[in-house]
């Protein structure tokens, strides 16, 4: 009899607990892995946003940027994600084609080297691709110079890695008609091609190559986190291809207000000030206190190269064929 007496009470408590949980709305942000680790921007951004939103911000990590797009395509309209964060402009055309995204509706003064007009994808950080080598050693001064030199580099595969795809676009933008020649001449400089950024960067640090395809901001990590100024990014005459990382609102979100609030939060100082020393990229809107000490030492390219998402998507398959043919000789 005791049990029956207490049963309604227990059930009532359980209901209360459920409804209390349900009152805290959940905002799901789907992003790439390195954003959500304890060394990435995720934890600080989660704390800052949750301080004011009366909500639960949940990150879902999914490999790298390309994996993020594949995951989104797999989930389709049924996705529970409210925000997708971490695609770059080489992927946004395919992302737009899914029809899953709604306009972001955020107006901001972006500190980007290019004008930003995309209505659906909101930039949250950016950087330049660059070859990173050791200070005081021989450097190449351009893609052409690198191709003619004996310097050894490690690059990433454009089929599985976003920096790898970035380099493919870099060569194609700098040499629209001669990309195949550049790749053919580069082939004896390329020690090997890795599937991801981590493998390539690890191999460079182990001394397998003179330089690795990474970002102009990579030396900032070594300088700020390790107090090591031995890494430099090579400045190339043709200019440097950019990576602009963007966030988008999922049209079918069940938390439209929260999603809008988060998009507005992205361009605020609280979000942007976390980026430089966690994601090791430039913030899309420079925060009031400026960039952290050390960033002023970084090489800044004179020319910024970037294809529109539509051009990048149109050129991609042809550029990949050139790349594969040239490097398979």
């Amino acid at each position: 009899m005791k049990n029956t007496t207490y049963l309604p009470l227990a059930a009532g408590l359980a209901l209360c607990a459920t409804s209390a949980l349900a009152e805290t709305p959940v905002l799901q942000v789907m992003t790439y892995d390195s954003f959500v680790t304890e060394w990435g921007p995720g934890p600080a951004i989660e704390a800052a946003f949750e301080a004011n939103c009366a909500c639960d911000l949940q990150f879902v990590g999914t490999g790298d940027g390309a994996a993020l797009l594949a995951r989104l395509q797999l989930e389709g309209p049924r996705t529970e994600a409210d925000i997708v964060l971490g695609l770059d402009t080489n992927l946004t055309a395919a992302a737009r084609e899914t029809g899953l995204f709604a306009p972001h509706g955020v107006a901001a003064e972006f500190d980007l080297p290019i004008a930003w007009t995309d209505a659906e994808f909101l930039p949250f950080d950016w950087g330049y691709f660059a070859f990173v080598g050791n200070a005081g050693e021989a450097q190449a001064t351009s893609l052409r110079d690198l191709a003619d030199s004996d310097l050894k580099i490690v690059i990433q595969d454009p089929r599985s890695s976003t920096p790898g795809l970035g380099l493919l676009m870099w060569v194609k933008t700098a040499y629209p008609d001669d990309a195949a020649t550049i790749w053919a001449d580069l082939s004896d400089n390329i020690v090997t091609v890795t599937s991801g950024w981590s493998e390539a960067y690890g191999m460079f640090l182990e001394g397998e190559a003179d330089a690795v395809l990474s970002y102009t901001t990579s030396p900032a990590y070594h300088l700020i986190a390790e107090e090591d100024d031995s890494k430099v990014a090579w400045a190339f005459d043709e200019g440097h291809y950019m990576q602009v990382e963007v966030a988008g609102k999922v049209a079918g979100t069940d938390q439209p207000e929260l999603a809008d609030a988060f998009l507005a939060f992205i361009v605020s100082d609280a979000f942007q000030s976390v980026i430089p020393t966690t994601n090791w990229m430039y913030p899309a809107v420079t925060p009031a206190e400026g960039l952290p000490a050390g960033f002023e030492t970084l090489m800044t390219p004179e020319t910024s190269l970037l294809l529109s998402p539509e051009d990048a998507a149109a050129l991609r398959d042809g550029a990949l064929d050139e790349w594969r043919t040239a490097l398979s000789q």
Binding site: D33, S34, V36, T37, E38, W39, G40, G42, Q58, F59, V60, G61, T62, G63, D64, A66, A67, L69, A70, R71, Q73, L74, E75, R78, E80, A94, K152, D157, P158, R159, S160, S187, I190, V191, T192, V193, T194, S195, G196, W197, S198, E199, Y201, G202, M203, L205, E206, G207, E208, A209, S218, Y221, H222, A225, W280, L320, W323, R324, L327, S328
Partner: protein
Amino acid sequence: MAHSLVPVTPRWPSVAAATLVLLLTIGTLGAVAWRAKWAGGLAPADWAAVRFTIVQALLSAAISVVLAIPVARALARRRFRGRQLLITLLGAPFLLPVIVAVLGLLAVFGRGGVLNDVLTSLGFSPVSIFGMHGVLLAHVFFNLPLAIRFILQGWLSIPSERFRLAATLNAPVGRLLEWPMLRVVLPGTFLVIFLICLTSFAVALTMGGGPRATTIELAIYQAVRFDFDLGKAALLACVQFGLCVGAAMLALRITADDVTGAGMDRVVQRWDVARAGIDYAWIIAAALFLLVPLGMVVLRGLPGIFDLPDTIWAAALRSITVAIGSAVLCVSMALALALRGGGLTAIVGVLPLAASGLVVGTGAFLIVFPFVRPADVALFVTLLVNATLALPFALRAIGPAAAQVNADYGRLGKSLGISGWAWVRLIVLPRMRKPLGFATGLAAALSMGDLGVIALFAGQAEETLPLAMYRLMGAYRMETAASAALLLLSLSLLLFWICDRGGRANADV
């Protein structure tokens, strides 16, 4: 089964095991194919990938097996201090995550590696490791340990009575005992390594030096991640399975029947142990090749091993839990299948080897996504997939012993009317402790090091140790990652050693 010569065991465990394997291999492929928009067939570049994959897998398997024979023979007939420890350590490369092993290999054979340091100091020009020879070197590094273990088991399974008899008759041991044993063991060993190399991706690309080293698995990767062409991914996965089934049938055809017969299970004492020098030369060469790169992994990881962040220890604990669960499931399935035997077991026992990791992960994701949050079942799915992926190895480790028990004691058991669980508990398990321990250790260690499907499913709270290690590397923390790799290596070996040891406790050898 009424006329079977072996005691009857219930049918359902083997059926359940086969069902799980088929679901996770063919089923996941089906899920991917079902979701695909069919655009077209395979391009010339895909066929080039198929050709490259087959050639490198054949060569890798051949070299691994040929080199493993003298090493296994040397280990089988020599007794020295630390022999057991050496055998355990020699298995380590097989258990390593790809990137860790590659960095270990590069520390020895790479541009700034030990080998080139020696070469240049002697006045020779340095050698480059990248190219087809690099792919083969890495695959042999990974798979030689496995070949040594399987062939060594074959040697140790020859009853000591046979050697004694051969010694009394002054008969040639090689032709009468060892060659027939190799005819039984080699085709299967070759097949397993061929299939492992068939699904290689990151190793082949990195060591192969560029896109000419594109394997089928990389083509699948491209189809899913770059082109989002699930139809092509499914087609390529079918090619992988087709190759697998074809190779398995071929191996089955040329595998000789076991003709050694029953023995009393005593320690092998060898009388034909002349030429100790050559044996030790093989053992030392294999140990150098396999252990120096491992030593590099240890050296790189040691400095930071005590400063690892708490999240790494939490991830390690999660990995151990999954590894133990997956090992228990894996060995139970292997035992059920091994005692049943038959053609289905032969196919089910190799199918997981040919499964594309990405297709399994993607298919599993498509299957669970409509029903639950993938992160909620991340560890459970990982446990199931890891158990399935380790099944071929466990089956190979315990299969011969199970067949032996059936052959040697089956009629006795049948005439005594023992069946079911009693047969397994009283006769089978005590007879098979050694291979069961080995199989459990292998399955646990493989699960520890496997990145597998977890990357597709896991959120922050479900991170396993290999995933945590990769994420460290992705955040520039190469040194911390190196320490996490060392922790992973140590835990894998420890798990393997405990299980392997447990199987040996109170046993004769």
